[in-house]
Symmetry: C2
Subunit: 118 residues, 2 copies
Amino acid sequence: MSEDIPFPVGELPHPARADLVLAQVLFALSDPARLAIVAQLVAGPVDMARCQLQDPSIAKSTKSHLMRVLREAGVIRNDPKGRGRTLSLRRDDLDSRFPGLLDAILSSAPPNDSTDLT
Amino acid sequence: MSEDIPFPVGELPHPARADLVLAQVLFALSDPARLAIVAQLVAGPVDMARCQLQDPSIAKSTKSHLMRVLREAGVIRNDPKGRGRTLSLRRDDLDSRFPGLLDAILSSAPPNDSTDLT
DNA sequence: GAAATTGTTCGAAAATAATCGAACAATAAA
DNA sequence: TTTATTGTTCGATTATTTTCGAACAATTTC
């Protein structure tokens, strides 16, 4: 029997621009940890390994889950890169579907501090 | 024993403008039913009894809870009015704390249809 | 005052979401 | 090709949220 074929884990599914749903985007951004991740991605794509969470004691499976929620809402992309992954903000898609939303959120988001990569 | 004194149920607590938290506001708006309520309030204050939900089969206690989430996030006010209540959008406070956010959300929110009060 | 109206609170049940560790997959490095 | 690195998925557990009905409170109407 063709067994399920979950996904080759490599290319993960991303919703098309047209399928983004406002409420889902708002939900994805309604968590401080996820909001902070998005704030980090504003400057440009970031390797998952480099993407820090405020709470370093968080399990990697949980971190992966946070990224999944953002990805499934269409907020970020998560692409294979070497043996790791690259995360990037879907700014164009978000701006196109929800003009001004991301800017408004980011500009009133608590300063992400650790934006200084000493 | 002075018993708890929950609240005289009349004047409900509202967070001060300065205490509004972005993530909480986003969460409050991340539910379609709550988003639709907010869309109704854009035109001005509405009596609770007049404020319809898409799903009319919803219990009144649930409706009250939806309002509570919006109120506690600082999105709406809920004031006594006669024997009922008046709901209103805290537009000034929201615009002040999160400039552009409400506009962005409302302008990309699904058309509220039932805005026609035949 | 008694009855009707409106809406909140409480407590319990059901549905969602967050979190973790273990197992697995994919690539890179040795 | 073996080992190390990185990150996803699975299954279970816990925490949070939603939903409901019943009880209560406030106000108006009779």
